[in-house]
């Protein structure tokens, strides 16, 4: 399979719908198929990174645990929108995985280098 630069743009909070978990499943598969995968959490999507989640409380898988396992799928480029963190009062110490914080200009550069973007 041809190798492409694919950005997963995750903008939704977890648990109210299956969207976050279902999208992360495709992130895993893209990693397995050796694509050049990046993941950007933006807007309410930054809540997917919050530590201390327990999905079983609402009968679902825990999104934070899926994120922690992404390196096993060779997905290492995990980014978070700095202005979104600020808007929701989330600090780096609140995150369950190490995500590189990007300002708007850095996010523009990230987008510009992509072959395809998958919206989550």
């Amino acid at each position: 399979m041809r190798r492409k630069r694919i950005l997963f743009l995750l903008t939704r909070a977890p648990y109210a719908s299956a969207r976050a978990v279902e999208t992360l499943e495709s992130v895993q598969v893209a990693g397995v198929f050796e694509q050049e995968v990046s993941v950007l959490f933006k807007g309410a999507g930054v809540y997917q990174l919050l530590e201390g989640q327990e999905g079983s409380a609402v009968g679902q898988r825990t999104v934070g645990k899926i994120l922690s396992a992404l390196p096993e799928y060779d997905v290492e480029r995990i980014f978070v929108c700095g202005p979104s963190m600020q808007r929701f009062g989330i600090e780096e110490a609140d995150l369950c995985v190490a995500a590189q914080r990007l300002d708007q200009a850095e996010q523009r550069d990230l987008l510009a280098g992509q072959d395809a973007v998958v919206t989550g």
Partner: protein
């Protein structure tokens, strides 16, 4: 140019399916190859064969079937997302011993590898979100 399309929204809850269908028809008319339509999340409900569209509204499901029959465009629904939403083809109906198949035979249930393959083999990938 080779184009693949993702549909994330369910018919009647979202315009995604209808917008994607119009886009695909127009891309074909402009001479492009539409490689695969990937139905994801609630988008898989477009594959349902049991819906009866109101007479005074466009039948988007029928539009997809027609697109497949006339142009051979692959209609691929995520199998994991389909099963949990009650979208089963004959094989899955037998495997899970359910009373009936609900997916139209022009749609195929596929794994997420086919989403990645669609992106990898296409010049453009366009998502129609919910």
């Amino acid at each position: 140019m080779v184009i693949s399309i993702a549909v994330h929204g369910a018919p009647y809850a979202s315009q995604a399916s209808r917008s994607a269908l119009r886009f695909a028809e127009c891309a074909l008319a402009r001479g492009h190859a539409v490689h695969r339509i990937f139905f994801y999340h609630e988008g898989v409900l477009a594959a349902g064969s049991h819906g009866v569209a109101p007479q005074d509204e466009e039948d988007v499901h029928a539009g997809w079937v027609s697109l497949q029959e006339s142009h051979g465009v692959e209609l691929a629904a995520c199998i994991a997302n389909s099963l949990k939403r009650g979208m089963l083809d004959a094989g899955e109906r037998d495997r899970y011993e359910k009373p009936s198949a609900t997916v139209h035979p022009r749609f195929t249930l596929v794994g997420l590898g086919q989403l990645v393959d669609a992106i990898a083999t296409s010049d453009r990938f366009v998502t129609f979100a919910a």
